[in-house]
Symmetry: C2
Subunit: 268 residues, 2 copies
């Protein structure tokens, strides 16, 4: 992978960086299509919000765009990852008085997911690992990802493409790397991201698409029992776009459902 | 700071390391006194336990000891930090099939805490930030430390030495960088570390010391109201040892209380 660290070609960071020492930072994973960063402003908006929430100086979005373009302008399809950390220094958990954030921009090959994930749908697992309640970290895309790692490593079956995670009250909140939407009682619903979970860029984009297509969409708590009786179910993120779910554990769904198809058409 | 990465003098790590990308790893902070690593075997035991819990290959303890000694044998007082990460690779959150863990051993100056923290006691704050329930990560010293960072940055008063954190049910679990003990109804008590919190090495050591001195000690849930009526209160970790608490918010404690003094004497 090619990496720019604070604007310089460099594949190493200081071991003292708080990103490594404590997971003290944020990231964005951005789809590159025909040399362009997809949903750039939405990613920058979430990153800025995350920086404000963690009290890390937000990066200069123009400078980041120049660096992103340097890495992706010749790429037809690729994944751009941006990491912002609180840099080095401070005393233990205490942040340094003058924070010099570290800016890591890297480019990666487009992942080789089967094309059938989109056209035929995917099988989804239900993770045992629960998402913990932490409103201070909910919605932002921070670097503390051990919950997702433990959950993702619960299954090793190549036929399972994603795992859904619940909170400790049994609400199904999101996938290990995705958000999800369901059609329940003729309404498109997606979990509210308040106490845990990531507010995905594709999730926001789909909600906007739904409104544009006059599809009623609502954020609310969703239980497993409700998911089992849902008419349609799909997972989404910035890289995969939308994957219709054909099976959740032993329950099957119609693929591709009517509302899912409308959303997918709108994203093209 | 001097750093050994996988045994080599090097102050940089690969930006692709999962320790940076996801906080995918563990650490230990060890007191060096007269060139020796204090409580080495206890630290190695917790690190090994953490590696098993996260399914990271545990480091060779003998090799780690050689590296630790290389950095600390000439140091009268210093802090040794060991970080073990899952290394690079894998597909997103999914761990690589063959994990090559990264081993980072670094040496740091002994922190300049006032001597009065031990002799006169410290003032302690009550953090708003809650510890989230996550039994999958409780007790081990993992690299996902944003909760502690947010909590530690709630106060900026040099007269406050530590902040206590509660879980979402109001039990006071630990400090941002320490565990604590209280004397309540003539019994030495410390919170149980089941759903959140770190099982500190000094905490274990103090429990063993208490038993040796025939002081009754018990792990249990402790509420804030109980802490306010406690006869004695102290915080502890591997570096600070024991700091008696003279004040928690507006409540004062006797310093140094009888049981606290016995424990402190036992640690010398």
């Amino acid at each position: 992978m090619t990496v720019l660290i604070n604007g310089q070609l460099n594949s190493n960071i200081a071991a003292s960086d708080r990103g490594l020492q404590y997971g003290d930072g944020l990231f964005e994973t951005i789809a590159i299509k025909n040399g362009e960063c997809e949903h750039w402003y939405e990613h920058m908006s979430r990153l800025t919000d995350g920086c404000q929430r963690l009290n890390i100086p937000a990066p200069d979005a123009q400078q980041l765009l120049v660096e992103a373009q340097r890495l992706c302008s010749d790429k037809e399809r690729a994944v751009l990852k941006i990491i912002i950390t609180r840099g080095s220094g401070g005393r233990g958990y205490r942040a340094p008085d003058m924070v010099e954030a570290t800016r890591i921009v890297s480019i990666h090959p487009w992942p080789s997911y089967p094309a059938e994930n989109i056209t035929q749908g995917v099988c989804v697992f239900l993770c045992d690992t629960k998402l913990s309640y932490q409103p201070a970290l909910a919605s932002i895309k921070h670097l503390n990802r051990l919950e997702q790692i433990i959950a993702r490593n619960e299954w090793d079956d190549v036929n399972i493409s994603e795992g859904l995670m619940s909170d400790i009250d049994g609400n199904i909140v999101e996938g290990t790397m995705s958000n999800y939407f369901a059609v329940i009682d003729n309404e498109l619903v997606t979990p509210e991201i308040v106490d845990c979970g990531v507010a995905g860029i594709m999730r926001s984009h789909i909600m906007a698409q739904a409104i544009l297509h006059e599809i009623s969409v609502r954020e609310r708590k969703i239980s497993l029992d409700e998911l089992y009786v849902a008419d349609e179910l799909f997972v989404c993120n910035s890289i995969i776009g939308v994957w219709p779910v054909k099976k959740l554990v032993n329950h099957s769904y119609k693929v591709i459902g009517e509302v899912t198809a409308q959303i997918m058409d709108g994203l093209i």
